[in-house]
């Protein structure tokens, strides 16, 4: 097959994103659906291997490299764009979908890149695309959040760039392969990747920014940045033990903050960090089972998280409210949204017959196979905690609990279809996991449906549910937020800057006072001698001249004799 016939799927998506603003009416609607469909077609047509290669400076680049892992992520990104595009079809902002496609195309570019330089380029395009998605919400809150968002991501990009440059200097090889944590450059690359994954201490960028996007924008945002980070960690740092502990921290951070949260979309944003934590832990364990589990979980996570955020988006679009304390009882008038949201909630909780069950359990199984009892105990507790913070909490407070009296209808057809397709996929993958297993990077030797697995998982989840209802009084929502690390750059940083600015201002006033005073005395001194009648300017009588000459001569005479 000739190389020139190979079309880069990321470029299809990005070209589509640039063309879409020119289209109007039904042509535009068709375009919104066609662009990701064509991207998917281009992707499925690709054979495996380094398809595009080029020389740049001294480095061999591979802007298009396909293997099972990269194809898996590119497929789910294209599918996500298709369903997200359908869901966002009636979004009034004309900027949002093109921006989302630029963002999605760049994410596909990252996962299909065979070298670090291409990875970095698309990485930065992703930051641009996602910031534009945030902007297109058009609210002051979104504008402020997008400034913080882009600052964190550009900082992450600088760290990644430093790492990549160091790696190129150390090895002279640009290809993106597994790296050991043996040099500063590789640590910098890891940190750059982890910032996008939502790892501590920068995790706060995610729940800060994502919930500020429009009702459809958040659906796109939830999918690409963190999962691209999971992909690059899978390829670059599998089996790095530190990732196990970072992942476990992320898991419990997500649960605790989501439990305290009142904004329905911030609950789901914290649970993204929680779910990515499972993937990062799997990458840290690093066995074939664990890596398969992390990849499969990323795939099913994108679907159910988008579904959850679509149902939240439908509620936001219909009611204009986002706080649990102002919602409730919506199942009366939004039955379809309630059902779809609940399916997403069951899938994120890994209930049997949903996609979460067949993917997340591979990570847990890998911990068991590796005899990692402590890790396994954490993961089991976390599985129960997911049901607690997202699986029940989200549908309960949004669709059930007290009746808020709101009776909005289910959303329009385009939004309904986005939800229906993803709800179907959540269940279909749960019942019939083999097509997903066939796409995973390593051969799958795992049977999710054993009596033991189903019973133990049900015990864990249902008793977590019991805990939720027993403790319901303690979980009542209050109109509060919980301080996170973004406090450091939203309050502490500016406060320190203000203190410094005030101190500097004082110092400057004091210094400039001194300097002014010095100049003034100098000026006074000069003018005193040079003004009319000053020492140097006054006219001297001839007599005094003769007197001074006499003084000089006498002094000379005196010196002559000495």
């Amino acid at each position: 097959m000739s190389e020139s016939l190979v079309v880069h799927p990321a470029l299809v998506m990005i070209a589509g994103a640039l063309l879409l603003p020119a289209l109007r009416g039904s042509a535009r609607d068709a375009g919104v659906l066609l662009v990701p469909a064509l991207t998917l077609a281009a992707l499925l047509a690709l054979p495996e291997g380094d398809l595009w290669q080029m020389q740049w400076l001294d480095y061999q680049l591979a802007p298009l490299a396909v293997d099972k892992l990269s194809r898996l992520f590119a497929i789910i990104f294209a599918l996500m764009s298709l369903a997200g595009g359908a869901f966002a079809l009636r979004q009034p902002s004309r900027l949002e979908i093109p921006a989302a496609y630029l963002y999605a195309g760049s994410a596909i570019g990252v996962v299909l890149a065979g070298d670090l330089i291409t990875v970095f380029l698309f990485w930065e395009f992703m930051a641009v695309g996602s910031t534009l998605v945030l902007w297109s919400a058009g609210t002051p809150g979104a504008w402020a959040a997008s400034r913080r968002y882009v600052a964190v991501h550009l900082a992450g990009g600088v760290i990644l760039f430093a790492g990549v440059t160091g790696h190129l200097l150390d090895t002279g090889d640009a290809s993106f392969t597994r790296m050991q944590l043996d040099s500063v450059a590789h640590w910098l690359i890891l940190i750059g990747f982890l910032i996008n994954a939502g790892a501590p201490p920068f995790s706060a960028w995610l729940p800060d920014a994502y919930p500020e996007a429009s009702w459809s924008g958040t659906v796109f945002l939830s999918a690409f940045t963190t999962k691209t980070a999971v992909y690059v960690l899978l390829r670059g740092f599998p089996g790095s033990e530190i990732l196990i502990w970072i992942g476990i921290f992320m898991i419990f951070y997500g649960i605790v903050y989501a439990l305290l949260e009142n904004d329905m979309r911030r609950i789901l944003a914290y649970s993204i960090v929680n779910q990515v934590g499972f993937m990062v832990t799997g990458i840290g364990i690093g066995t074939e089972m664990a890596l398969n589990g992390a990849a499969a979980h990323a795939f099913s996570h994108i679907i159910y998280k988008a579904l959850l955020l679509m149902s939240a988006g439908a509620v936001l679009a219909a009611t204009g409210r986002r706080k649990c304390s102002e919602l409730g009882g919506l199942f009366h008038s939004m039955p379809l949204t309630t059902i779809c949201g609940t399916i997403g909630a069951l899938a994120i909780s890994s209930f049997p017959l949903t996609s979460g069950f067949i993917s997340k359990s591979m990570v847990t199984q890998a911990a068991i196979d590796g005899h990692l009892q402590v890790v396994w105990l954490f993961l089991a507790a976390a599985s129960a905690g997911v049901f607690l913070h997202a699986g029940i909490k989200f549908p309960w407070f949004v669709f059930f609990q007290k009746d808020s009296g709101l009776r909005p209808p289910d959303p329009p057809a385009s939004m309904r279809w986005g939800m229906i397709v993803f709800a179907f996929l959540c269940i279909a993958l749960g019942i019939w996991p083999d097509p997903l297993y066939a796409l995973l990077p390593y051969p799958v030797d795992y049977v999710p449906y054993t009596a033991a697995h189903v019973i133990t998982q049900l015990q864990l989840l249902l008793f977590s549910g019991l805990a939720f209802f027993v403790m319901l009084d303690y979980l009542k929502r209050t109109p509060t937020i919980t301080l996170d690390t973004d406090w450091l750059w939203r309050v502490a940083g500016p406060a320190v800057a203000r203190v410094f600015a005030a101190a500097l201002g004082k110092l400057r006033t004091a210094l400039s006072g001194e300097i002014d005073h010095g100049f003034q005395s100098l000026a006074l001194f000069i003018s005193r001698h040079r003004q009319p009648d000053g020492l140097l300017m006054r006219s001297w009588p001839t007599g005094s001249m003769a007197w001074w000459v006499m003084v000089l001569l006498l002094t000379y005479l005196l010196l002559y004799y000495v």
């Binding site: 002051p140 199942f331 068991i368 396994w376 008793f463 977590s464």
Partner: protein, 86 residues
């Protein structure tokens, strides 16, 4: 007279749901006694381990979150105030 819009609005039905839930809970624990759960770690051999572990860890997570909330909770206008000032 209060009109029930939906069968879930009737407290009697909610009570039935609760009873059903408790029966299902009991069933999952009982079923664990009849099926070989292939325990890998010693702790898994305890009867009803997963049920107890799920319940207790969730209680701990809620208590832990509430404890953290004591220090970190703020009004949801906390940042908005700063931004209004700008």
């Amino acid at each position: 007279m209060k009109i029930h819009e939906h069968w879930l609005d009737d407290p009697r039905n909610v009570k039935k749901l609760w009873r059903g839930f408790i029966v299902v809970l009991a069933l999952t624990v009982v079923a664990g006694g009849f099926v070989d759960l292939h325990p890998h770690f010693e702790i898994e051999r305890w009867f009803g381990f997963y049920a107890a572990y799920g319940f207790v860890t969730c209680l701990l997570m809620i208590v832990g979150a509430k404890g953290l909330g004591v220090f970190l909770k703020r009004s949801d206008r906390y940042y908005a105030k700063d931004e209004d000032d700008e």
